[in-house]
Symmetry: C2
Subunit: 138 residues, 2 copies
Amino acid sequence: MSTIVSLNKALTEFYDKMASWESSVVRESEYSLAQIHTLEVLGNYGAMNMKSLANQLGITTGTLTVQVEKLVKLDLVKRQHSEDDRRSITVALTEAGQAIHEHHNALHLSLTEDLSKDFSEDERHTLMALLNKVNQEF
Amino acid sequence: MSTIVSLNKALTEFYDKMASWESSVVRESEYSLAQIHTLEVLGNYGAMNMKSLANQLGITTGTLTVQVEKLVKLDLVKRQHSEDDRRSITVALTEAGQAIHEHHNALHLSLTEDLSKDFSEDERHTLMALLNKVNQEF
DNA sequence: ATAGATAACTTGATTGTCAAAGTAAATGTC
DNA sequence: GACATTTACTTTGACAATCAAGTTATCTAT
């Protein structure tokens, strides 16, 4: 089997397992997958407008409007009108939202520690570097 | 920043981008994300019973029963009663389901080719090997 | 036998989703 | 500057996905 096919399998399998892990972790929390995912993107990439956020999440802005509305009511995110473009709305984490993101991120970090527990420091670094190269191509 | 934190970021970012790619690819098809994902798991890991499949997909068997029902009506999967355990039902792809899986898999392969287009054969191989090591730990 | 565990299914309530249409603001063109 | 077009977001209506809890059938252990 060619390297590219094996690589494809490995990437796909990792994606599947990550999705499965994510959904089981989220199910134990009091928030939904969609909600945690939204907080996660805002925490990892910083505040952004509705369009970018919807794009990151892979949903329409219509769906996102409803989602953000709920998060605002839960005091997890806040909306800020942009000054240069009054149509645009920047969505940002509140302190409470930031706290939830940090907690969720700690779970991710602990997973990463687990997954790479038998790696040498070199191997970790190599995997990280290669993944970053992949991520840039996306 | 420590290697483990960078590695965590890289893994998370890859997962996010993959999820986003998957949802945009699926939106262009006539099937839903949940449906394609089900076919994908059956295609990649082979036929399995309801419990294993639900577990792989990260959903309850109750949800899966409904989902499989739709796929059976669409003639994409079939149910087979297990012989050793009459409670158990094995879900398998039909020929039509297999065809859709193969088409979807081709898209994945083409993505992998794209993402690793600037990689040497050595780099591809290293990334594949490290990912497989990660996958085994899950 | 029979009690308990397991695999799948059913049901009811909730949430997530899109497409399409609507509003308000910015941009381009004449 | 007026007006058409584009852009950013929201609203609405219909439908799909999901879970939790309860049910049925079957298996396992005692």
